[in-house]
Amino acid sequence: MSHHIVELKDVYFKYPDGTETLKGISFKITHGESVGVVGANGAGKSTLLLQINGYLMPSSGSVVIGDLKLDRRSRKEIRKKVGVVFQNPDDQLFMPTVFDDVAFGPLNLGLTCEKVRERVEEALKTVGCIELKDKPPHHLSSGQKSAVAIASIIAMQPDILVMDEPASSLDPKSRRYLINILKNFRHTKIIASHDLDLILDVCERCMVIREGTIAADGPADKILSDRDLLETNNLELPLSLQKIL
Amino acid sequence: MHMSDALLSPAVGATFWAGSLAVIAFSAKKLKENLDEKMIPLMGVLGAFIFAAQMINFTIPGTGSSGHLGGGMILAVILGPHAGFIVISSVLTIQSLFFADGGILALGSNIWNLGIYPCYIAYPLIYRTIVKESSSSKRIVIASIASVVLGLQFGAISVVLQTLLSGKSELPFSTFAYMMLPIHLAIGLLEGFITAGVINYIRVAKPEILESVSSSKPFSPDISIKKIILFFLLIAVITGGLMSWFASTYPDGLEWSIEKISGSSALHEDDKGVAQSLKKLQEKTAILPDYNFKSDDHSSGPESPEQWPNVSPGTSVSGVLGAIMVICLIFVLGIGIKALRKKKN
């Protein structure tokens, strides 16, 4: 089944001001894989993620999602398959109530009001926030906001879930809750994070990005226990491994 | 600078509401034609920015008291007149509802006074004339100050006119104007300076913002000029009407004002012709005959249940007694409802 594959071939990306952030990225992610993306600040993690849903387009090289090659016309279709959760939930909850935010995606997909309602309730139940349905976002705690932001994406039922620093503003309990939700999400997951313990917990595979290229790509438990590799990339061993190794 | 409901009459309030709604519909249409989707979140968030900026106070140099920013002009410069107008209207709407700033009826007038003049008069006529693509920062300062000051002066005069036409205040035109205009001149200088400061800062720190925003700005000069000419005509007519009332009911006042302004009494013998024709004009254009301010005929409303003056003690007692009764009744009602609700819970 090719429709859930994410494949980047020799992708280069330059920002309008000239900074070349991605210098030849190639990888292939198959259906159901859970992949962590780690690296130093400025290495290119966020830029890479934004290529996958077509918000940014490669200067050269190709991005293929399922059967679609990324270009201006296929962007819209691709966004139906790839759901991206960004770092700051306040930037993603822009509607007056939680219900409206989670309904935003499904409504744009063209679903009927009834179907939209179903999707919203299902998504909110999955993240455990159904009772917050009619609240305005500014009445929510940051953990709740993160959960609702995720719900707003899974309500679109994407095949591929992409997340940029999902746990950065969460307290330990909310973080644990998030990890459980992610573990139950069956589809492809691509998660960029500095929280190496989360990656270890949730992802089977891990890519290390360094100065716009892939420095390492392999099983998460192997990569994340390689002290030298991590430290070369401004990272440390995950806390859970630090006492052991 | 915000008008308040209590000082407005229904006619004036409704008129300016109609005017503001018409312009809102116009701006919305203009925006839709050329809409860059990016504008919607940008407009909303910039509106919130104006709010936040208004909440920060600063000490005015030299006086030690604090002041704060208005925002109309900076929105017009950054977003263009149509989007700028829509954002200012939204900011005023929220202010009137949440902050008791002005009122619901006055909102129409406030949108007119604080939105139309900066966005559709001062900005196109002054700012755009002075500032071109690659103007120096000095030019921007001059343009900002000039346009903000003009916008605020128009706004201040509007407030005075609206109050006068409503007839609830005793302030004569000249006194009111003499108070409002200098104050708003000072405010305008300050705000213009700040506006320029922000624009120049952005030009240096992050010029791509100005570029990216200006590329989504629709602005067609031709239509705006027609609108502006029409508007000036309207102002002339209103002013003419007002002056004629003034002249016929308060000839001394007009002379006094003219004396003060020009240093000489302008209404001489040979000018009797002018006063005469003004009176004729007033009779012809007396749309609101009941709304005289300070005339001998004190029935200043179309429906007065009692005739004024009412100096007989008998009716006064009824009035007071009745007032007390009504207040008590309502108070009891309020407590009753509260008790009922508590019981329900």
């Binding site: 934004l50 966004r79 960004f86 822009f94 509607m95 007056p96 409206d100 409504l107 305005p136 500014h138 009445h139 679109m156 | 308040s4 409901d5 209590a6 229904p10 919305a28 925006l31 839709k32 989707e37 990016k38 919607i40 979140p41 940008l42 407009m43 909303g44 968030v45 910039l46 509106g47 919130a48 920015f49 936040a52 900026a53 106070n57 600063f58 005015i60 939204s90 509802l97 949440f98 902050f99 008791a100 109050t163 609830k168 005793e170 302030l171 400061g197 800062y201 720190a205 925003v213 200043s300 409303g301 249940p305 100096v311 003690p313 009745g322 007032a323 009504v326 309502i330 009602l333 409802i337």
Partner: protein, 269 residues
């Protein structure tokens, strides 16, 4: 001039009140907007020197305060706090209009005071109407009402965004302001230049934020049109409410109830 923190918390408090669930909260927002507007129009249509005829109108704010579970003290405080600015113009009336209007057992009351009092009463009524409208109708509800009444879509959409992001921006601003104040040690730091720098930084951050929001919107399929799945419908209660309101407004305006009651009482006594 209330401080930043106070104004922000005021906003949040009023906003929180609007999400309660009482009879008046459940009324259709569009109907409430119309009713409030008509209320204000009626109050303001009274002549310059009217006093007693205005009093029955307090029925409406009292109704909303008591059945909407709104703390009366809060509303009163807000009204009185803002009043000096609003009444600034009216205060001149007693000085300019000296004709005696009422003579009351030896006390002469000038017309100017009467008109000022009239302005004050009108002010309290109209401002409380606006506050109570928002206190009993969530702001998105009011926006929905406005849209139903015909305001352009683009105006309403960005009004909603504005509302949503005031809270976010206010918090960011508070952080910046506190940072400034902590390094100011008194007056010297609050100068004009600092202010300009402050709001310029805030402005840039705001534009960047709007770009991130737009990015999130695109990622969820935004195509320029904001759709809604909500269905507000007008119930029988709403219709009864608006009809009763219209009837009462007309009654109170046409007949000076207070005066009639007083006359009646006099006859009985």
């Amino acid at each position: 001039m209330p401080t930043f923190d106070k104004e922000y918390f005021n906003l949040g408090y009023l906003d929180a009140l609007s999400y309660k669930d009482t009879f008046v909260h459940r009324l259709d927002p569009g109907i409430k907007v119309i009713a409030t507007f008509l209320f204000v129009l009626t109050v303001v249509s009274f002549p310059k020197y009217e006093l007693s005829g205005l009093l029955p109108f307090f029925f409406f704010p009292v109704l909303f305060v008591s059945s909407g579970d709104i703390p009366a003290k809060f509303i009163l405080k807000k009204i009185l706090l803002v009043s000096p600015f609003a009444l600034f113009v009216g205060i001149f009336n007693p000085f300019l209009d000296r004709d005696i209007m009422y003579s009351f057992y030896g006390i002469n009351i000038s017309a100017g005071w009467i008109s000022f009092l009239s302005i004050f009463i009108k002010y309290v009524l109209t401002i409380s109407a606006a506050l109570l409208l928002i206190a009993t109708t969530s702001f998105p509800g009011v926006c929905y009402g406005l849209q139903k009444l015909g305001l352009p879509e683009i105006f309403v959409s960005q009004l909603l965004f504005l509302y949503r992001y005031i809270f976010v921006l206010a918090e960011e601003t508070m952080k910046i302001v506190r940072a400034r104040d902590m390094r100011s040690f008194g007056r010297t730091g609050k100068g004009l230049k600092t202010f300009i720098n402050l709001i310029s930084v805030l402005f840039i951050r705001t534009v960047e934020k709007s770009e991130r929001i737009y990015r999130a919107m695109l990622s969820r399929g935004f195509d320029g049109k904001i759709r809604s799945a909500k269905k507000y419908s007008i119930s029988g209660v709403d219709i009864i409410f608006i009809l009763t309101t219209l009837a009462l407004l007309y009654l109170f305006r046409k007949y000076d109830i207070a005066w009639q009651l007083g006359n009646l009482a006099k006859k009985i006594i």
